[in-house]
C-alpha cells in the first residue's frame, strides 16, 4: 500500500519521504491549501460552512479541512456524494496541549465518526509547518487509529491524498 502525506512547508525532500515510509510527501506548493476557492486544483481550509458547502460542488476542489468548530452533517453528506476528501490534519493535536488538545481530539474524532457514517472518503495528513511536526507513516497510522479508525480504514486514510 502506498502512503502519502501533505505538509504546510513550501519544499520537502522526497528522499526523506522514503525514509519515513511514504511514497511521496506533498508540499504546500504542490497542492494549494486555500481559504477561498481558486481556479486551479486546491484543498479548501475554512471555518465558514457556506464556503465549504459551495466548494464541495467545485470541480477544482480536491478536499476540505474543517477549521471551525461547527460541523454540519449535510456538508459531509455532500462531500460523500461528490467524492471529495474530508481531510484531518493531525498537527492540531500533536502541536497542542491541555484543554486545547482535548478539544481538538474530540473535534477530529467527531469529524471522523460523521464522515464514516456519511460514507465520505477521508484522509489524514500531518500538515507539519516545520521539521518538528513531521511524522513517519507508522506514527500516522497509530494516530488514525487513535481517532477511531480500524486497521483497514487507517491504511486507506494514509493513501487517499495521493489518488
Amino acid at each position: 500500500m502506498k502512503y502519502y502525506d501533505l505538509v504546510a512547508m513550501q519544499h520537502i525532500d522526497n528522499t526523506l519521504a522514503a525514509k519515513l515510509g511514504y511514497k511521496k510527501i506533498f508540499a504546500a506548493c504542490d497542492i494549494g491549501i486555500v481559504e477561498r476557492p481558486v481556479d486551479r486544483s486546491y484543498i479548501l481550509r475554512s471555518a465558514e460552512p457556506g464556503t465549504i458547502f459551495k466548494a464541495l460542488g467545485d470541480i477544482n476542489c480536491r478536499g476540505v479541512i474543517f477549521k471551525g468548530n461547527e460541523l454540519i452533517k449535510k456538508t459531509l453528506e455532500k462531500a460523500a456524494s461528490n467524492g471529495k476528501l474530508v481531510i484531518m490534519p493531525v498537527s492540531e493535536i500533536t502541536q497542542a496541549s491541555g484543554p486545547t488538545f482535548m478539544r481538538n481530539v474530540y473535534r477530529l474524532r467527531s469529524i471522523f465518526a460523521y464522515s464514516k457514517k456519511s460514507g465520505a472518503e477521508m484522509a489524514i495528513i500531518s500538515l507539519a509547518d516545520g521539521d518538528n511536526g513531521l511524522l513517519s507513516s507508522m506514527q500516522m497510522f497509530e494516530l488514525a487509529r487513535f481517532l477511531g479508525a480500524n486497521e483497514t480504514e487507517a491504511k486507506a486514510m494514509l493513501g487517499s491524498i495521493g489518488d
Partner: protein, 106 residues
Amino acid sequence: MITKRKSRYILVEPSSTEARQIFTMLEAELLRILGQITYTNASPKVVAQYGRLFAVRVNRGFEKNAVLALSFAHVQGIGFRTIKISGTLKTLKECAKQYSLEPDKH
C-alpha cells in the same frame, strides 16, 4: 519463577540534535503523555544511540502506545519520528546504518 523480559525496540529520529539531556527529558515527557500506569507497564527507556538516531526499549505489547506517545512528545521544540520497530537491537543497528548512508538533503 523468573520469566524472560520480552521487549521491543523502536528506532527514533529527533527532528534536531541541538538539545541537552534530551533522553532524560524524553522519558519524563513520555510519563506525562502515557500516565503512571501505562508508563510503568510499558517501561520505555532509551538504550542505545546510533549517530543522530536512538533506540527506545519498551515491553512487548506496548510498542503502539509508545509510537503514539512519541507523536505527541516535544522536548525543547524537538519532535520525534519513529523509523522502525524490531525485536532485536541488532536489526535496528543495521537499519540505522542504512538510514544514515542514504543521502538526506533535508
